[in-house]
């Protein structure tokens, strides 16, 4: 049928509409860090994407993303709000070190170099910070740092909660078909 996508392993996903209304799709809130809400626009787990994933994220006033790194590429476009993009310069091979501080504002864009440690803060007193994220090679493997002095080898691989399938029936659909023993 329309919009059905093959998943690796021959799993056929349940019908995905060809067009989706982002205004009707709610945000999910996660405890990854304070004040971060997430919406998957098109993703590996729920929409069968294999090479790119697109998100919309909102950070509440005083909220932030975790300090993190990932091996995939990331492009961010700020849709609304004001904040700071922190980026490790990578000069110290063992720890992220004191990051650069780059102001972000509506219609600004930045790319995150592969494996660079980074974080986004909402610095506005009252307004949400909202942005679009595009990443490569989904699903993302997210390594989280306690602070900018955490050694790279102590960063923790965190499960990304929005990549968990919502129902066990979805999981069942993606199991290998059981082979019937013909003997």
């Amino acid at each position: 049928g329309s919009g059905a996508l093959e998943k690796p392993g021959g799993c056929r996903q349940s019908e995905i509409p060809l067009i989706r209304n982002l205004s009707e799709q709610g945000y999910d809130s996660y405890s990854l860090s304070f004040g971060l809400s997430h919406k998957t626009v098109a993703g590996a787990v729920h929409h069968g994407m294999k090479e790119i994933e697109v998100w919309i994220q909102t950070i509440a006033p005083h909220g932030r993303s975790p300090i993190h790194r990932h091996a995939c590429e990331e492009v961010v476009i700020i849709l609304k709000g004001y904040g700071t993009f922190y980026l490790s310069d990578g000069h110290d091979p063992d720890v992220p070190g004191k990051p650069k501080e780059i102001p972000i504002y509506p219609n600004s864009t930045f790319s995150v170099p592969v494996n660079s440690v980074h974080q986004v803060w909402n610095t506005h007193e009252a307004e949400d910070l909202q942005f679009m994220v595009a990443i490569s090679r989904p699903p993302m493997e997210l390594f989280v740092y306690r602070n900018w002095s955490t050694p790279h080898n102590e960063a923790i691989l965190e499960e990304i909660k929005w990549n968990k399938l919502k129902s066990s029936s979805e999981l069942k659909q993606c199991k290998e078909p059981e082979l019937k023993d013909e003997l």
Copy 2:
């Protein structure tokens, strides 16, 4: 320095600012088809991206993209305006055939299945249709169809004009260094 990126072949790109203001970046207009303007948010040729590319495109009233296919994944978010997304159902192995017609509107999103033939039209009398595009595996190889009955093997590989480097000095920077003969 800040923002410099290694390109394949050891080519060092000229300084790319860590943050870029999309409001200050003009659109380029192209003759690909009628009324399409393009802005590369982050791309392979100009920003050193290797795995994803993000664009903003605007189609004037009555304008359209070409009928085309590409082997990379594509995600589109409509930022403003109204139009129609045409998508071949792929039932005929030789030609795209009569496409599905899917209305698009602000805050709607769709993904283009790999190698599917598709086109976007602005159907509004007066308003621009503006959208964000994310693609995988840049730079894109674009195959253009004259119409929906053009056989797949007659689709034409078109050079994407916004992927041309702007100056020969940029090209020079990306040449292999000449090896000095030590003998």
